[in-house]
Subunit: 247 residues, 2 copies
DNA sequence: CGCAATTTTGACGTAGTTCAACACGTGTGG
DNA sequence: CCACACGTGTTGAACTACGTCAAAATTGCG
């Protein structure tokens, strides 16, 4: 647990979206260890360990054997694959409080690349250690199941915004809403987004050309639905945007 | 376990894609119970129970509280949601050997509707029973984690074929390949598909108009990549189709 | 400052949509 | 048995949203 918090202050200065252990996706796994009487030492020794990741650095790459599961604590990560033409294909993003690599348990190797966007940080949990712990601490295994399901839920939601060949306008609206919800802390919902993600990355993810995305951005601004200042975006009409997102 | 197999013969006659327990997604959960000395009776009493589902019947509906997880044993199911315009939106399909509803553990309610296409059948596992068992049988919980991850892996693969705004041709190629892989038993890969799924459902899932889909189907046939006889489709050039699927 | 990377704007082409008609099979009722 | 409706699938012609290519504008960084 110590490891989860010791770098908190320095990172908060750089990036407003740091999450502490209370808002961390890994909490259900860390928590029983923290409170359980039998295994406090396990956690302190190795269960979760903070790692800082510079911009564009890979947490892991596709097809590498599963080693650890990560929880984002600050910054943003992109989940990518490389297509036959060796172009990057962005499959999703991961924000603070969300997991990365948790879906590699089945084929025991990572299904995608995980790359930091900007300065980011994660808590790393070595899977073999986690499994070893889960044999000792009875609560932990069920928490783990819930935890994996929660991330699966988030990923599915992110994904659903994409399908069904909506118009580019709907796609972007859905994307903005999805991002806003995920970046908002449960206590206070923000309507101002700092999008660390570049237009190119958004366009890639949405399956649009950068030019098209740019036009849609300016159209939404012209229609008074959003206000753009570089990477800062204010959602002016959340209801209208939601309507637009659903076609 | 008895429940998993007793209807086998009758169903095999109607539908060639019945899976027995050895090929069932639920096997890692059923198996330790079958072999473990302590809990044989649990399984026989209630753990898995076969249910037949007539065409267009719903296994469960979106937002219903989580009750059971299902493993498809024959037929096909579609996973759907309803958009703001009350139109059906198909999110995916589930074939024999795959799970349905397994991703509802986190918010404790189903995230979609599950509807049978044609006569189908499932093994039903009540989640509360499963959890109760998993406290008793030590192997089971870890198997469950793997099991959930496996389905998550299958779903993600199905998803990925959709994204990135490929051409309609690539979309259909990717869809056909995905379906073929999932319907093939691990021992023998088929190149002949019986598509229980209607063109309308495929078009809906791929986000295309039925007219467009029809044109693409005939184009692929004209190009000698597939051979169409109603709902039966033979993949003639698997390599070329794979190439096409990847853009 | 100055160069490179990123984002925006404009003009034109195309893939997929839209709308409309038709074809086929199946079930229903007179 | 035919007439008709209805679901499903195919085909044609005009329209449009997005892609493509090219260039300008803006941002960010050494």
């Amino acid at each position: 647990m110590k490891n989860c918090t010791k770098h908190k202050v320095t990172i908060e200065k750089k990036c407003n979206s740091y999450v502490d252990c209370n808002h961390c996706a890994m909490e259900p796994v860390c928590l029983p260890i923290k409170t359980g009487t039998q295994s406090i030492t396990l956690s302190d020794n190795y269960l979760s360990k903070r790692i800082s990741t510079p911009p564009n650095s890979a947490l892991f790459s596709k097809d590498e054997p599963l080693d650890s599961i990560y929880a984002v604590t600050s910054g943003v990560f992109k989940i990518t694959d490389t297509n036959e033409s060796f172009e990057e294909q962005i499959l999703g993003f991961r924000f603070p409080g969300e997991l990365i690599g948790e879906d590699a348990i089945y084929p025991k190797k990572y299904a995608y690349n995980a790359i930091a966007i900007g300065n980011s940080s994660v808590c790393k949990v070595v899977v073999s250690d986690l499994m070893a712990c889960s044999n000792i601490v009875s609560d932990l295994q069920f928490n783990l199941i819930e935890l994996l399901n929660r991330q699966s839920y988030i990923s599915q939601k992110e994904f659903r915004a994409l399908i069904s060949r909506k118009s580019a306008e709907s796609l972007l609206a859905a994307f903005l809403i999805n991002i806003t919800q995920r970046k908002s802390q449960p206590d206070h919902v923000t309507d101002v987004l700092y999008l660390q993600i570049s237009r190119d990355n958004i366009a890639n993810f949405l399956g649009l050309r950068r030019e098209t995305l740019s036009r849609i951005f300016t159209k939404l601004q012209k229609d008074q639905l959003i206000e753009i200042q570089g990477k800062n975006i204010r959602l002016l009409e959340l209801e209208k945007l939601t309507l637009l997102a659903n076609l």
